[in-house]
């Protein structure tokens, strides 16, 4: 589904990703772990199409299409979703209106019929329950005055409504207490199925207690230095990122 091949990228002239390869099959959950500054968020942002990142080498294909050639909205319509590490507050743009406009823009781009407000509301109500989000938040501006936890849950709520094929969660656990994290994880788990894939970017192993990954990759200094099963996350938890240094150094030399 998602195939990243030898991806090299720069931000402001600085090399951040230095040759990343990753193969995500439908239904799989891949966790990307790593210390701060490893390039985790850069990877998420490049996949979603954010400006300011320069891909200098390598390729990314999504269901056989060149993902990097697509505009952010085209990627969304193709089924890629990024849950932001720092969701943006947009006062004056109503949450519900925005989400319906976004969903219908995607459906239109895919040649599907648009949902009318009744159909949309039905869908929204069902998803709200799962995420334990207050109805009232829907009537506010996008993320306007939301707490940190509410913003992250709102990301997962959008994910639930938009039903992408590939969801990238960029440090969705950061700043969350244990209850909020559980709510987020429940939301994600309810969306797991045989065709939907997840790329879970996180600094801590904690989230992976709740969202069980199929694969864990350790990213350090722009490279994947270790890949394995869920047990790798536990190993990291036990030893910290410092034991990775040996693995990074030889390659860098």
């Amino acid at each position: 589904m998602l195939k990243i091949d030898n991806l090299h990228a720069r931000v402001a002239g600085k090399d951040i990703l230095k040759g990343i390869s990753l193969d995500v099959q439908p239904g799989q959950v891949h966790a990307i772990m790593g210390p701060n500054g490893a390039g985790k968020s850069t990877l998420g942002n490049i996949l979603a199409g954010r400006d300011g990142y320069e891909v200098v080498e390598g390729s990314v294909t999504f269901e056989g299409r060149d993902l990097l050639a697509l505009a952010p909205e085209e990627r969304a319509a193709a089924g890629v979703f990024l849950a932001f590490q720092y969701p943006v507050e947009i006062p004056g743009v109503n949450n519900t209106y925005f989400l319906r406009a976004a969903l219908n823009a995607q459906r239109k781009a895919r040649g599907e019929t648009e949902l009318d407000s009744m159909q949309f509301l039905k869908r929204v109500r069902a998803k709200l329950e799962v995420l334990d989000l207050k109805d009232e938040l829907l009537h506010r501006g996008v993320n306007e005055g939301f707490s940190g936890g509410e913003k992250k849950r709102n990301e997962i709520f959008q994910l639930a409504v938009l039903e992408p094929k590939l969801a990238i969660l960029d440090e969705t656990d950061s700043g969350l207490d244990i209850d909020a994290m559980r709510a987020v994880a429940d939301g994600v788990n309810s969306l797991r199925d045989a065709s939907r894939s997840f790329l879970v970017i996180t600094h801590y192993q904690r989230l992976l207690d709740y969202i069980k990954p199929d694969f864990v990759h350790v990213l350090a200094e722009g490279r994947i230095v270790e890949s394995g099963g869920p047990e790798l996350a536990l190993e990291l938890e036990a030893h910290g990122y410092s034991w990775l240094k040996d693995r990074v150094a030889p390659a860098a030399a």
Binding site: D51, E73, V88, I90, P91, A102, L103, A105, Q158
Partner: protein, 420 residues
């Protein structure tokens, strides 16, 4: 010599005192761009134009669809009895054209005309005082609560030549009265007329006035408006100005908070797309104790548009406990557009709270990316953010019916951005 002033003076029909005022303007001419109050709105090009007196022009009544009674309608500055609907006024409400009061022996009814304008930087108020023989005179008696908004409609209609009109208005609320007024400035087709309006707003103790003004005049029109408001003790004046049309539109909003506890909320949108030049100049004076002003203004400039904002607030000595709040945010949407903003706070009292902020920026690229990453295309994302930026001003309007009228007018203007 000024072709503009000569052409306007040709229509003079007033009394000796007005002649004196007119001669003052003719002698001193229009202010030069060096005059601070006119620095960002030069009058050079306008000075070379000339305008005729307006004749009655018939307009299509469908223009008034959506503007219910009671309403008073002026076309090219002339009262239009046929389009006005003044029969259903509530008890305690009087709304009439100034011309009807002038001919009568209601000397007191027109004493607001005695106000003199002498300064050389207020040429249009002086011209208005010398030349205006028409306007809307609205009086609400003490204790009267008016529910339905009173609609003041000003239509500019194409004529064989460019015409000028001068209108002088009075809005007066007695003690504890309350009312809403909606001003509509509409173009009935393309024209390049000059409209000059001067409004006196007197709000007596405990009275409340909601005042909305929607300026969506024809794209070549020139408009000068000045509002002089006076608020007595515990009076409330809430106004929302949408500057959406005309080629040049300048509004000077002067409000004196003369009574203790008086409160002004004045919000507005300056919408400078195309080649439009919009200029709003606030002059708010806190004179009595515990007076409050809240000013929220949004400016937008696209194409070759120019948005000018001056937020002047003075807190006089003795006006302790006053609270002044001014926010002016601006969105610069094109490289050829221009925004000039100038908050000016002058404080002579000790115990006051005053805050102001003015910014000029572009659409937030992170917010744009956020919207696009959810599937909205770039144009839609830009439109949504721009609309949100402006709608904040309208969202605070309490009366849902008034809010809807304002929101519709704003949405129509926002649609222009897409086709630009």
């Amino acid at each position: 010599m000024s072709a503009l002033l000569d052409s306007l003076a040709a229509g003079f029909r007033g009394n000796p005192a007005q002649r004196e005022t007119l001669d003052g303007v003719l002698r001193e001419g229009l202010p030069h761009a060096r005059v601070e109050a006119w620095k960002y709105t030069p009058l050079r090009a306008l000075e070379r134009r000339s305008f005729s007196d307006a004749d009655a022009v018939p307009v299509n009544a469908t223009l008034l669809d959506g503007i219910p009674a009671p309403r008073i309608v002026f076309v090219n500055g002339r009262f239009d009895a046929g389009l006005s609907e003044l029969d259903a006024l509530a008890a305690g409400v009087s709304l009439q054209p100034l011309s009807r009061l002038l001919g009568s022996d209601h000397a007191r009814a027109t004493n607001f005309l005695d106000r003199r304008y002498e300064r050389s930087d207020e040429p249009f108020a002086r011209l208005n005082a010398a030349l205006a023989g028409e306007g809307a005179v609205l009086r609400i008696e003490a204790g009267t609560q008016v529910n339905a908004p009173l609609q003041l409609v000003f239509i500019g209609a194409p004529a064989s030549v460019d015409v000028a009109w001068h209108l002088r208005h009075l809005v007066e609320l007695g003690r504890d009265a309350s009312a809403s007024v909606i001003e509509h400035h509409i173009g009935a087709g393309e024209h390049a007329h000059l409209g000059n309006m001067l409004a006196h707003v007197h709000i007596d103790a405990g009275a409340r006035l909601h005042h909305a003004r929607i300026q969506s005049e024809s794209a070549k029109a020139t408009l000068f408006a000045r509002t002089d408001g006076v608020l007595a003790r515990d009076a409330r004046y809430t106004r929302t100005d949408l500057e959406l049309g005309a080629a040049l539109s300048r509004h000077e909003l002067n409000v004196r908070l003369e009574g203790e506890g008086a409160r002004l909320v004045a919000n507005g949108v300056l919408f400078a797309d195309g080649r439009r030049h919009v200029d709003t100049r606030l002059g708010i004076e806190h004179i009595a104790r515990d007076t409050v002003c809240e000013l929220l203004w949004r400016g937008l400039a696209n194409g070759r548009g120019k948005s000018v904002f001056h937020g002047g607030i003075t807190i006089r000595a003795g006006a302790d406990g006053s609270d002044a709040n001014l926010s002016n945010k601006n969105l610069l949407l094109s490289a050829d557009a221009e925004i000039d903003t100038q908050p000016v706070l002058v404080i002579h009292a000790d115990e006051v709270k005053a805050a102001h902020g003015a910014t000029v920026g572009q659409l937030d690229p992170v917010a744009l990316f956020y919207l696009r990453s959810r599937g909205l295309d770039e144009a839609d994302a830009r439109r949504l953010l721009t609309a949100a930026f402006c709608r904040e001003v309208v969202a605070g309007v309490e009366d849902a019916a008034v809010r809807d009228v304002l929101a519709c007018a704003l949405d129509r203007a926002l649609l222009r951005l897409e086709s630009a």
